[in-house]
């Protein structure tokens, strides 16, 4: 066991310089006529004023006596006064013993109010509302603890000896220490065994109790066990470690030295590590009956109620609604499966999420909330119904709770909703609520809705590359269209013509002698008439403002070309001088057009 010792010192004799008042009941449940004790403990004082009688209708409470204890530690004396009231229940019911005043010297303290449940039946009922013990604890156990008379002992208290498989049985472990013993106790007891499971232990509750006239401090731990298989069940001992300060003997020779001087009680103590153990117990575990077991029985054993609500009441197309089912009561919430939906045709249903809220320390009492996400396949005005079955050990019968469909206005969506299948693993014993629910639990990647990457699509590399490609395409097309438009414009055409002229003039320099007249004529026609024909070129030359000499030279070029082309026998190729003269004429023509 984890050897973490509570820092709290747990007993009265621990040296206290400050005054303190505590109050406690020897039991919080009793039967009519069964007396119990109410103890008021006053520390650090020699006397106190307290009422002789407490007025509570249905309870008779009278001061029965007072005891004083002294302890000396580190040569400091401390005293503890214990006033004991006898409480005798007159009638059945739940009672609150109100707070009352305790006057210690010149100070006035107020005690805490306490609750007491009184039953007429020897099998006492739980005391709901009792702050530390809302778990029903047994009264069919011997009211007198097992180890009376011993300085310390332990008890295991089972609420039932005959249980069903899966039934949660509250248990309480009580560890008693005579109030004259000081020390520390372990944080949690050790408890467990085969054939049953144990819930987490509650925090230790400390109280004082009188057992056969002796005052004890009791540490009680609550938990619950669940039997997992039928047959006889042996509950092994539970143990708790403690380090005690036991009263010791005075050293040898001490009495000779001090002679007959009075030695205060508690002056000499021995530290001792002990392990308190409860006695083993037996239980009989019955199997759940087969007859009457509903097909959708989900393993819940206990006593439960069910409520359902839906929100929102009205949704847009394809939006989910949440059917909230609250199962409340006492039982095995941990092993409980989800309720099942009925009449869910027209709905897309998913396994519910669940959350358990316990109202006691051990998870026996509370409520479990199941939330079913629902999405309408067709427009809906009513939710599916809900059914929940459980086994009631008290009546030894299966009980089926049903919830009628609730009103809702849900519109069907256009396609499959992106709201994902909540990949909730069904709780133990879960039945699949609908055919729409996956029959098995497929891989996460298959079930997951939403994205499968931490990078948003808008910044993903592939997305950016695709957009960059589109941008390049757009720019390319834009460029092509711009170029095309320019080439078709007047400026574009002019530019093309100039380039053509330039090319044509440059070609004249390299042309073969036999083709010179032909190319010279082409260039001339292109320059003066835009490349039409000789007649247009003649007209162009005549209409131009060129000098008569230049006009004449140009006409000579046309004439020479005609001769070379049409004269019988042809004409010889131009001489170098003639060729130079024609080039000069054409240069002059270019120069005149440049002007």
């Amino acid at each position: 066991m984890k050897r973490l010792f509570l820092a709290l010192a747990f007993f009265l004799p621990i040296c206290l310089s400050a005054q303190e008042v505590a109050v406690g009941l020897s039991a919080h449940q009793a039967q009519v006529g069964e007396p119990i004790q109410l103890m008021v403990t006053v520390r650090g004082a020699r006397g106190a004023e307290i009422p002789q009688k407490l007025q509570v209708n249905g309870l008779q409470i009278n001061l029965a006596g007072r005891s004083t204890q002294f302890e000396m530690r580190n040569f400091k004396m401390s005293s503890t006064l214990t006033y004991t009231y006898l409480v005798v229940p007159q009638i059945e019911g739940e009672f609150t013993i109100p707070s009352f005043e305790v006057k210690v010297e010149d100070k006035v303290f107020r005690t805490q109010a306490m609750k007491l449940a009184v039953s007429a039946d020897p099998r006492a009922h739980p005391a709901p509302g009792y702050p530390q013990s809302s778990v029903p604890m047994p009264s069919d156990q011997p009211p007198v603890p097992s180890g009376e008379g011993e300085p310390f002992f332990a008890d295991l208290i089972l609420s039932k000896k005959k249980v069903f498989v899966g039934e949660v049985v509250p248990v309480e472990l009580r560890f008693y220490f005579n109030s004259r013993i000081g020390g520390q106790v372990g944080e949690r007891p050790t408890f467990g065994g085969e054939g049953f499971t144990v819930q987490k232990f509650s925090n230790a509750v400390k109280r004082e109790q009188v057992v056969n006239g002796a005052s004890y401090v009791v540490f009680s731990f609550q938990s619950a066990i669940t039997a997992v298989k039928p047959g006889p069940l042996e509950i092994p001992e539970a143990s708790l470690d403690a380090r005690l300060q036991l009263p010791g003997q005075m050293p040898q020779g001490f009495d000779n030295f001090f002679g007959n001087l009075p030695i205060p009680q508690g002056m000499f103590t021995n530290n001792r590590d002990v392990t308190l153990k409860t006695k083993p117990a037996q239980m009989e575990v019955l199997p759940l009956p087969k007859e009457g077991r509903p097909e959708d029985f989900s393993g819940a054993v206990g006593k439960f109620t069910m409520e359902a609500s839906v929100s929102p009441k009205k949704t847009a197309a394809g939006e989910p609604v949440t059917l909230r089912v609250v199962v409340a009561g006492q039982g095995n919430f941990e092993g409980m499966g989800a309720p099942v939906l009925t009449g869910e045709e027209g709905w897309r249903t998913y396994p519910p999420s669940d959350k358990f809220q316990s109202t006691d320390a051990v998870g026996f009492t509370g409520e479990k909330v199941f939330e079913f996400p629902l999405i309408a396949r067709q427009d809906q005005t009513r939710t599916p119904g809900v059914r929940f079955s459980f086994f009631d050990p008290a009546s030894e019968k299966f009980v089926v709770l049903t919830q009628d469909p609730l009103g809702v206005q849900a519109k069907a969506g256009g396609g499959a909703p992106s709201t994902p299948v909540p990949a909730t693993a069904p709780a133990p014993g879960d039945t699949q609520p609908s055919s729409a629910t996956p029959a098995s639990t497929p891989d996460i990647a298959v079930m997951a809705g939403g994205a499968a990457s931490w990078t948003a699509l808008i910044v993903r590399r592939e997305f950016l590359i695709a957009n960059a490609a589109l941008a390049v395409a757009w720019l390319a097309i834009a460029l092509i269209l711009i170029v095309r438009r320019f080439t078709r414009s007047r400026a574009g055409l002019e530019m093309a013509r100039r380039k053509h002229l330039k090319d044509s003039f440059a070609a004249l320099k390299k042309v073969e002698p036999g083709e010179f007249y032909e190319k010279a004529r082409d260039h001339l026609v292109l320059r003066v008439s835009g490349g039409k024909d000789d007649l247009a070129a003649l007209a162009g030359i005549e209409a131009s403002r060129l000098s008569p000499e230049l006009k004449h030279a140009l006409l000579q070029i046309l004439e020479r070309h005609g001769e070379s082309k049409y004269a019988a026998g042809g004409t010889p190729p131009p001489s170098v001088e003639e060729r130079r003269a024609i080039m000069t004429t054409l240069k002059q023509l270019e120069a005149s057009y440049e002007k």
Partner: protein
């Protein structure tokens, strides 16, 4: 030779997928048996071995909730919501975890409302298509002959609409907005200080589960911003990014 390598790689891939599925099945079985801590470890392993998925983080969060680790559960519910902001069960589980951690309810912003209603990847694609359709229609209209004003106007409008959709995605996608966000997982929370020194003045105490934005890092210290806009320093220990590092 090359085809043999391809076959080997493919087989390895499928074997690893099957192994991942086994881990997941085991995790779910453990969860059903109430072994929540073990289930959480196996869910983490399964998530490590497969692509991230909202449902996977949700299941991990549930196991952590059951094992009493509310802050880590809240982190994983938030991760589920980052991957799928429309995952209603994760949203309600996160809300419950925040309540359990004692954190105040966060104010719903317009971005929250958008992401709850509209799938962002679809919105991204729609915005992209509209943007480029608008761009090409506008280009064609600009260079076309004759009456082109109406076509040009339509192209520009469609282009702008697509651009607005992409801007909305940019502002709303939690994978972008929470890219530098982190959560306090330190037991007992951490302190938000005016300077990177433990003795410096405390601006606020950040309880476990607090979400904040990390702006920069200096040694053991983060410089960050709270949702209310306050900026300060806090220790890097126990601060876990919402979006896991690659």
């Amino acid at each position: 030779m090359k085809s043999r390598q391809i076959v080997t790689v493919t087989l390895c891939f499928f074997v690893s997928m099957l192994a991942g599925a086994d881990v997941l099945t085991d995790a779910r079985t453990r969860f059903q048996d109430g072994e929540y801590e073990q289930a959480a470890k196996l869910f983490e392993q399964a998530l490590d071995e497969s692509p991230p998925g909202a449902a996977g983080f949700f299941e991990l969060g549930r196991a952590l909730t059951k094992s009493g680790q509310e802050a880590r559960a809240a982190l994983n519910y938030r991760r589920a919501l980052v991957l799928d902001p429309r995952f209603a069960p994760a949203a309600s589980a996160l809300q419950a975890a925040n309540v359990a951690l004692g954190l105040p309810a966060s104010r719903r912003t317009w971005q929250d409302r958008v992401v709850e209603r509209i799938p962002l990847d679809a919105l991204t694609l729609a915005g992209t298509v509209l943007f480029w359709v608008g761009a090409f229609v506008g280009l064609a209209a600009f260079f076309s002959q004759g009456v082109r004003g109406r076509r040009l106007f339509s192209g520009v409008v469609v282009l702008l609409f697509g651009g607005v959709l992409l801007l909305v995605v940019w502002l709303c996608d939690p994978r972008i907005s929470l890219a530098n966000s982190a959560m306090v997982l330190t037991n007992g929370g951490t302190s938000f200080l005016t300077s990177p020194a433990e003795q410096s003045e405390k601006i606020a105490a950040l309880p476990q589960g607090t979400l904040l934005r990390v702006l920069s890092q200096r040694g053991r210290w983060f410089y960050g911003e709270l949702p209310n806009g306050k900026k300060g320093w806090f220790l890097t220990e126990g601060i876990v990014p919402v979006i896991p590092p690659a």
